[in-house]
């Protein structure tokens, strides 16, 4: 099996606090891999290092065997690594049409084009139309993002990440904050991602994790506690103690 995304001895400290401890993670090509862990385990910090928002203190990050540890954020995207954010990161004043159009244009290398008008390239238009309809955004494509209901914004958040045509997609709590009535759309979209896209899912919702993932890594205090197929992880007494135990207390 080829490895799509890999970290080698990743280490990140904020002052004296070690938020990522010697983390070596392998995500296989085409996997549905989930990264779980209790609050404050450092999951989002890992994502931020994978995408280049944060620089690790030491260790390496490999995307399809290539070292991307020192690449800036936008270059990793062009290499096929894209993400969604736990809290929507959208453009409040832009419409879904513009938001997706921009992502598609950038991927096709038209982003720096300062002469040709938006909307005059048929290949870009076709892709935008396709994404808008796949994500149920056609009816609101001309409305400012800030005016959209939260569920629609969440769909747009995922659509933007997909528009980059990633080979590895990082989903940071895709269903977070979405009302029950709109959850189905999000889950359907996540479930229908093509199999050749490798997905690393970060999630709190255990139902979603166990229905979606074929492999689970458990992160505790920045270090890898265990890793394996869902059934194995669910049975692991350590995981029960640290993670599921905590959940049981919550309930």
């Amino acid at each position: 099996m080829t490895i799509a995304l890999e970290t080698q001895n990743l280490e990140k400290q904020f002052g004296g606090l070690r938020v990522t401890r010697d983390l070596s993670l392998k995500v296989e090509q085409g996997a549905r891999h989930a990264l779980i862990g209790p609050n404050g385990a450092g999951k989002t910090t890992v994502i931020n290092q994978l995408t280049g928002v944060l620089k690790p203190n030491s260790g390496r990050i490999l995307l399809e065997g290539q070292d991307i540890t020192d690449l800036p954020v936008h270059k990793r995207v062009l290499r096929g690594l894209s993400r969604t954010f736990q809290i929507n990161q959208l453009y409040p004043d832009l419409t879904p049409l513009e938001t997706i159009g921009l992502a598609v244009s950038e991927r096709l290398g038209h982003g720096g084009d300062w002469w040709r008008r938006m909307g005059t390239r048929n290949d870009v238009n076709g892709e935008i139309a396709d994404l808008l309809s796949r994500f149920h955004l056609l009816d609101v494509m001309n409305e400012a993002t800030v005016t959209l209901p939260y569920g629609k914004q969440r769909l747009l958040e995922i659509a933007v990440a997909i528009a980059a045509k990633p080979r590895v997609l990082l989903l940071d709590e895709p269903a977070a904050g979405v009302p029950e009535s709109e959850r189905h759309d999000i889950l359907a979209v996540v479930g229908s991602l093509p199999r050749d896209v490798t997905v690393l899912l970060i999630e709190h919702d255990m139902d979603l994790v166990f229905s979606f993932a074929d492999r689970i890594s458990v992160l505790v205090s920045g270090a890898l506690l265990t890793e394996g197929p869902p059934e194995e992880v669910a049975r692991d007494p350590q995981v029960k103690a640290v993670y599921l135990g905590e959940e049981a207390v919550d309930v």
Binding site: H74, P92, D93, L94, L102, G112, D113, W114, R117, G119
Partner: protein, 342 residues
Amino acid sequence: MSTASDVGYHAQRQARWHYGEIAFWLIVLACGFAFPSRYLIMTDILRLALFAMSLDLILGYAGIVSLGHAAFFGVGAYAAGLLALHGIVKEPVLALIVAGLAAMVLGFATSFLVIRGVDLTRLMVTLGIALLLEALAERFSNITGGTDGLQGIEMQPIFGEIPFDMFGKTGFFYSLAVLFLLFLLARRVVHSPFGLSLRAIKNNPLRAAAIGIPVNRRLIAIYTLAAFYAGIAGALFTQTTAIASLDVFAMERSADLMLVLVIGGTGYLYGGLIGAVIFRMLQELFSTITPQYWQFWIGLVLVVIVLVGRQRLHRWVLYVPNLIIRQIAGRKAIVAVPESDS
């Protein structure tokens, strides 16, 4: 109708010319014929409009605040003055472009300082650069004429054909032509994928980078272009007034520009143009009423604008026209001025 062509149609929605825009430019052109005795003030407004449009490109589209935009205006002004004074480039249009390029080079060089940091840092860095240049211009008085400025500039005819006249008619139409051409270019740029990416960066730089936009490169590009525009505005100043003095670098000039954009609004290109007209007219009005305290009234107007909000003001201003039109045509007036997004 296929969805793709539908998307293309909507994507170009804002890039299409609206009737209001055509009317706007026709009115500006008509002013040139209607008020032949007012060429000087009207030329002054055109220069200010071009200068404000330059700031709008970085502030309204890319979200870069600047308190030192006069740096580029000043470089353009002195460059045009020196070129004409020493007869290096005699033809005004060519000299205008060279002066703009000089400002552009400075813009490119300083953009690396400006794109770092947040708003406050940017305000201080831009202000500092303008002050620095003002001091340099004063220090090297053998080149710049120091506090006396450049004197004895004589402008050659445009294209060797059209001489500048003492009433400023040539100056007005020359400035208008330059403003219109640069407006067309800016309009093209802001409706391109590049222009859209600037708005994305202004809205959310984190997400912009996360879809593959090279944020810094884009900011450097637009800052450099805006510097070119400001340099052209400065060069127009020298060419149409035949003077260049230290006050082209003055902080008031940069600050006035912010006021112009507060009045006119940012992010739709016309803000600088409309703001320049209103700002200069208010200045004229208040200085005739109270020559000493006109700044008080300008200040008051600004506070009211910021507190009330521009969109509400537009509604109020159009209240009476709406009433009349509704009586006649049974429908609402169309707002000729596009609403800004701020």
